[in-house]
Amino acid sequence: MLWEIDVHSGAEMPDREAERVAQEAADLGIADSLRVATARGYLLDCADDPITVDQAELLARELFVDTVVECHVAAPVDDLRLLDPPASWSREIDSEKSTDSEKSTLQLLQVLRKAGVMDPVALSAAAAVADFKIPVRAIRTVRKYWLSGATAEQVKSLGERLLANDAIEQVVCGSLDLENLDQMLGLPKRELPAPEKVEPGRPSQEGVEQKGETDPEPPPLQIHTIDLSVLDDKGLMRLSLEGQLYLQLTEMQTIQQHFAQLQRAPTDIELESIAQTWSEHCSHKTLAGRIAYRGPDGERQFDNMLKETIFAATVKLRQSWGQDDWCVSVFQDNAGIVRFDEKYNVAFKVETHNHPSALEPYGGANTGIGGVIRDTMGTGMGAKPICNTDVFCFAPPDTPWDSLPAGVLHPQRVMQGVVGGVRDYGNRMGIPTVNGAVYFDPRYLGNPLVYCGNVGRLPREMSFKEVQPDDLIVSVGGRTGRDGIHGATFSSAELTSESETLSGGAVQIGNAIEEKMVLDVLLKARDQGLFTAITDCGAGGFSSAVGEMGEAIGAEVWLERAPVKYEGLTYTEIWISEAQERMVLSVPEASWADLQALCQSEGVEATVIGQFTPTGRLTLKYQGQLVGELTMSFLHDGRPPVIREAVYLPAPSEPLIPSDRVNLTTTLFDILGSLNVASKESIIRQYDHEVQGGSVVKPLVGASHDGPGDAAVLRPVLDSQRALVIACGMNPHYGELDTYHMAASAIDEAVRNCVAVGADPARIAILDNFCWGDCENPETLGSLVRAALACHDLSLALETPFVSGKDSLNNEFSYTDEQGEKRVIAIPATLLISALGQLADARLALTMDLKGAGNLLYVVGATGDELGGSHFSLVHKQQGGQVPTVDPLRAKATFAALHRTIQAGLIRACHDLSEGGLAVAAAEMAFAGEMGAELQLDQLPLASGPLPMAARCYSESNSRFLCEVPPDRAAEFEQHLDGVPHAHLGQVVSDHHLIIRGSADSPPLINATLADLKSAWQTPLCW
């Protein structure tokens, strides 16, 4: 028996969800004059013991409904009143309509989560209801939309495109199908014993529904084996694809040979374990593989490309530093670790979650941030997450609806979903989201990029871990379900319009509070020394976590012991499920009782699922029977090397000559209003960027707290002034011209952002995140290798070590166009560099907003003719030009000198020059500080020969800053910058305008009021 409690906005209270839907339907051109009313409903499964009307009303009043602002309907699920829209709304609609035909267009859509999809609200509600001692065994949620003024077709379109996502939800038109409702909702079977007792007053987040099934005897166990010996190459590849293993032929052949030697057929779970371990996602086989590279910089043979470029630079740096090495753990754990202060180290990791976010933006981003937080939680002996970063790449939000290929969500919906997903997880976890960026390009249409990063703090002595033989394997946190099956292998596949149906299981919703609870107990357990090692369950689930932890020792797993969300999972599903919010610990037997008690005291589930047996084997058992056994050596070292060709052909260089007639003022407005540069305030303010209390420089700075800060500064230890600096650098447009200089520029940008707020350039650690297209294409891979070479060179020259990194390849979307032709959209080569800097005293931090009229404005760094890939070229739609390059030695000297001036307290404001160059930086500093600026460019230090004014204003040459210096500190400032190009260009003025001239007596090249500039910058993404 199901009861339903529907909650409506109270009379005269706004129905915000309805307003949102009507607005978006109009914005997206689906329906112009839509009228909407909504309700959120709770379906209460009362088992055999129906609840009374009084009980339902009690639950409504005391739990589900805020009676001050809401009203409700509580009734058995078949009650027709549940299909009626709120009375006040109906009256309103009726009074507006004259004819019956208009009235008859009223339609109800109900949106339910698909069976098995995580629903945190339903779980919390079930636990809260238990506290009322009313017999409800499970709860599901439903959203209702009453629509008026739309045709049946429009309603269908709304359902598909705006109200629900087929990857996780189901839409019902009209009333629910009561016959099949249990199945639809994934409710346990009926005719049950009395529900399990839940201890009153202890709502738990375990999310366990009382099990319905009490089959006297489980059916006999079927162990599936796959006979590989009978398969030819074609058969092997079919198995690889249809089984969603996504392995290559040589890998399938290696597996075939391995089992031929063993003289047996592999079981399904063995194949899955190998596929997961050997997946691109988990082994990075392409970039860590053999590559024969040819490019303008010559030919090179790599045995392990990453190791010989990026990693090698870090190794050399650490050797050269000797005693002063401040790296602690690089490229080995879930995150890179560097020294922070006498007591703490810090860990940093950035991950991507692109394919899941393409299919279900909210859930994809939600679990993306949840996953990277678990990465630092599982680094060393466990770090406490202290801040998040996020960088997104989307197609432009004004992409027309009718241009979308099948299976592609509209970019605006992707953007809102992704932002919402990061917001809801990060905010709930209590981790400030302090830094980020959003980039737009039409090629991110079917394949958006979602980078999520997390910094964690851990005691110095907790930076390493070592599983001990015979430690117990303990799963802590969420339960295992059928969610996220094949996520690890799926990331190797190209996205297509069918991906949603094929891999819907790879999409999940997170439950942030579960993860927060896990975090709370893990930090306590760590400090009490209750475990010897820890890792997160990410892609590949237990298979990956246990496989990695047990690599050196061996492991035996008892799969039936893993707590499951519902019955019916196969042993393989349990093993490879990527259900969220789980961590795996290795626990000495002597500590198990204490750990169990600690977890229990805060309502967190912890279960022994096996043991790290010193056998060198991975042994998988289910209900006592052996279902799989692999040697750790075959699993981790048996993969045949991937050998690839890589070729880099630089784009032919064409000069970019700005027209003499180009209006430089209009150009400034165009660049400020371009999507990449425009204010992201509407996104930033949805994130809590101050929780944990350590905020020093927030993402938005200036007189009205709305200017674009260069980097975030925060104090991870509240009673200390030592601070961390977090920034990033990225510019996919440069990659069109040369990925070497794109990578070099991204590193320079990330570092100079840190330096601009006061970070010590000798203490900046960086991360690489490569998102590329299909690297089986030699040219695509070639462009990546060339970028990696730049990472090596710059890292070494700037003495800025890479400490961790991640790659995501195969970021392509394929579809069939109207003419029936297959089309592929590959993303532009996109390298994100994330930087983690340090600042000895937070009180020396700087911001970019102008502070005082009369102060002098200095440019630091030289400007070259580098408009290639610039925002100038973007807004004027001009191709070619020289891409910005980095002179690493000069960059290093510039950063060091500038840092000295900041340390000496000589600067009042500092802004790095990036997209839009000098003019954009000056405009941003002025409107953020609400002070004018007057500059002249004849004294601008130039990198080479004469430079037209357009390039002086908008060239994006690297390693440059604009600084505000009080007149009485100018001499000292110049002294510190001896040997570094710099020039006094003008001053801060009290008039609210920006004037840039070629020389003192020439007419202004740029002349605009701050109000207009700011408005151009704030308007485009204000939603």
Binding site: L123, R428, Q692, G702, R843, A845
Partner: protein, 260 residues
């Protein structure tokens, strides 16, 4: 009593407990973070403390409604010890999610014979917002312990459900009359001044004794100069100031001083 004992009560999803404890410590208190499960097992624990603080966060995910599930736990299992705590002249403070819990469990004396009469509903924007707000303390009839000596405050808010709403005009008038609506956003001319659309710009309120206080802004996030969003603009650099201090600290100090 030199260092009054402060109980920082946390639940699953509480996430401002550490910085709140730090603020109390700065103010001279002796804070301890205790999980609500311990309180449910041993409600008598409360007797050891002078101040009970429910900090910010998303208790139980704010699922169903912000603070609702935590508030129900208090109503169902801790009503008597909480009442006794209040009657003993001790202090209760709810910040952000803590305010949502206090108002929903009835400790702020908002309920009447028809049930709950005031709440914190969704922001007018329908979204979570993190921004700083100007606040004005209004204490006429009823002195609120925490706001002693405070006229104005500048603090951050960070919430999705902070719009103070009463069931009807009469309730609003009753709470005005009793002087409980002690903390208001000061919108001045800026529309952002009131970040959520609260009636009468209410940002915080106390019970009829002035000893139970709930507020949406986060005083624990502004106890030092460098937490201010534009501290870098002040001409005297922060390091030159011997005792850098933010507006929020006074609230914690008032609570501690009450027992000294």
């Amino acid at each position: 009593m030199s260092h009054p004992n402060i109980l920082i009560l946390r639940a699953p999803g509480t996430n401002c407990d550490e910085e709140t404890a730090f603020a109390f410590e700065r103010a001279g208190g002796a804070p301890q973070c205790i999980h609500v499960n311990r309180m449910l097992e041993q409600p008598e624990l409360l007797a050891d403390y002078q101040v009970l603080c429910i900090p910010g966060g998303f208790s139980y995910g704010d699922d169903v409604a912000a603070g609702k599930i935590f508030a129900n736990q208090m109503r169902h299992h801790l009503a008597e010890p909480m009442q006794a705590f209040r009657d003993a002249g001790k202090l209760i403070l709810g910040i952000c999610n803590g305010f949502q819990v206090l108002i929903k469990c009835g400790l702020l004396d908002t309920d009447d014979s028809q049930g709950s009469a005031a709440t914190l509903a969704w922001n007018d924007s329908g979204r979570f917002i993190d921004c700083w707000v100007e606040l004005q303390a209004k204490q006429k009839q009823l002195p609120c312990v925490y706001l002693d000596g405070i006229e104005r405050l500048y603090l951050p808010v960070a919430h999705a459900e902070g719009k103070f709403v009463t069931r009807d005009r009469a309730t609003l008038e009753r709470l005005q009359q009793s002087g409980q609506l002690v903390l208001r956003y000061q919108p001045a001319d800026e529309p952002e001044g009131n970040p959520n659309g609260s009636q009468q710009n209410v940002a915080g309120m106390c019970d009829t004794t002035g000893r139970v206080f709930g507020l949406m802004p986060h005083p624990e996030r502004y106890i030092e100069t460098t937490q201010h969003p534009s501290w870098t603009r002040s001409s005297a650099s922060a390091s030159q100031n011997d005792e850098p201090e933010g507006d929020g600290l006074q609230i914690f100090r008032n609570a501690v001083r009450y027992f000294q």
